[in-house]
Symmetry: C2
Subunit: 330 residues, 2 copies
Amino acid sequence: MSVGRQQPGKRAATQADVARYAGVSGAVVSYVVHNGPRPVSPETAARVREAIRVLGYRPNASAAALRTGSSKLLGLVLPEFDNSIWADLAVAVSDCANARGYDLITASSGGDVTLEQQHIQSLSGRQVEGLLVTCVEMIDPAIDGVADIPTVLLNVFSDAPGVTSIGVDARQGAIDGVEHLLSHGYDTVGLIAHRGIDLREEGWRQVREAPLGPIERDASTRQGGYDAARRMFGSPDRPRSVFVCSDMQAVGCLRALWELGLRVPDDVAIVSFDGTVDSRFTAPPLTAVQQPIATMARIAVDLVLDGPVNGVHHRVVEPTHLVIRESCGC
Amino acid sequence: MSVGRQQPGKRAATQADVARYAGVSGAVVSYVVHNGPRPVSPETAARVREAIRVLGYRPNASAAALRTGSSKLLGLVLPEFDNSIWADLAVAVSDCANARGYDLITASSGGDVTLEQQHIQSLSGRQVEGLLVTCVEMIDPAIDGVADIPTVLLNVFSDAPGVTSIGVDARQGAIDGVEHLLSHGYDTVGLIAHRGIDLREEGWRQVREAPLGPIERDASTRQGGYDAARRMFGSPDRPRSVFVCSDMQAVGCLRALWELGLRVPDDVAIVSFDGTVDSRFTAPPLTAVQQPIATMARIAVDLVLDGPVNGVHHRVVEPTHLVIRESCGC
DNA sequence: CTGAAAGCGCTTACAG
DNA sequence: CTGAAAGCGCTTACAG
């Protein structure tokens, strides 16, 4: 059984071990591992490859990184993991990174600016070649002090000079979602919002002069959406429809409505924001303003790797896309 | 504005830069950064700290890793990310790692054994000090060849000598879930299972001599659960209750039942396996056999870091815990 | 086509 | 309490 061969304390083979075994110099080992930059005769290359196989040699990435200054590592900092939108982003970024030969270190700040700052410092110490940061706060001082690392802010709308950011037009997305509900003839559109400032909330306010309905703010979690919905729909003057600022909150909202015996979309119509896989499998499936996560991930990775990034104000805004499912009553 | 200070091309400060600025040797810089192992006078230390601050010095982790042989990096390989149970595991492992001063590189194999193998090789090249692997196959040859890295298999039930693994008693968990349904007096208990061999399926079979109900196998995703449920509950001889082998599949199943106009638990009672946060916020919330993910993550991290691990057959089995919610009809 | 050697940025005995 | 120096394992001009 192959796994049985695991033994404790075995020292990893080095380039020098391979060179000795194959009777060549370390340089040649490097040449065959990287297929260059100098040519190697087929016979020698074969001997080296055999030695690599026999000794189980894997080049020490730290040594290579130190020598070349290239760690082949990207860093991703997220507010939290327990939210499909960030989990989706992590997957998408990881895939893009891998496709370009990079590994990804992901760190979650739990919404704590201090922790976020620590992670960024730690990642920069690891000489990551690019840093993707989804800030806890709109513009975050933590990205300061890592000026030597190409950084892009994700899902944040910074107009600061010298900062590159990418995100959707959340205000317009919210407007699209709210107007879709209005187009169904619902007289009121409540809002379940995040805590803190949010362009989605601004979008909702902007659709009409007068408020469209009640607003409840809570955490961007299932529980937050649940609590907000219990408050909003527990009273008799509940709105006829609601725009929810994240899929996570919408999942909690759906659960609250179910408990209250309110049917979706018959009693309450819902449109949510994010369009993660969660929104496709609720009952009923959620009509949602979809963020193009995969596209944003790809652009962000390309940006940090191919720049220009730092010191350049570059602001990529991707459009959202309303996906009609059943929760809106279409 | 602090972020405005980002400039392109700035070279990161090195230990030598700090030493020069503070008028000390590199050794002293190292001593104050690590608070040892040699003492430094308070005045000198203060000067060094000032230099570090001014120059924005962050020690090069690659150089330190190369010198000490300790990368302070852990590796986690998962089948896929788009499943709450793995996302939860990634969070839990990341937290444990961070608490011990380690960063985590997470790689997802997408269920592909070749890709899994590549990731393991890549991670081992990065000199990760521990490797946590959730195998695509029950016992995986890919963990071979990295004998110098402490490795533990997660959520896998290997009796192979020389392999350390940790997971729940899935067979017993399934038995508990199925028996709970039977205790409600339901005459049939269907099974929505994973593809491939699965101890949960064995547990379900083991409860009675005769089959308890129909079985449908599909992917461990929301879509897989949805498809399986459509097949199982689309026919008139549908079971009165069902045990679903993962929360993801249960979410899809709930959606299918909703489409078919079947109420939970009145028409169909459900118990699922995993107990992730998803199971708490479905409508109705799912009674579930809960895996102690945080506990397993902690034990796994402690094992790879404090061993003994490789070459030792050590098999940690954690109990599951049935969490009663509403989908079972209690 | 191949080898000897420098140097990436650290940490840590060793000497003072 | 501090410094000079070796060496971790690579990659890459440079010389042959």
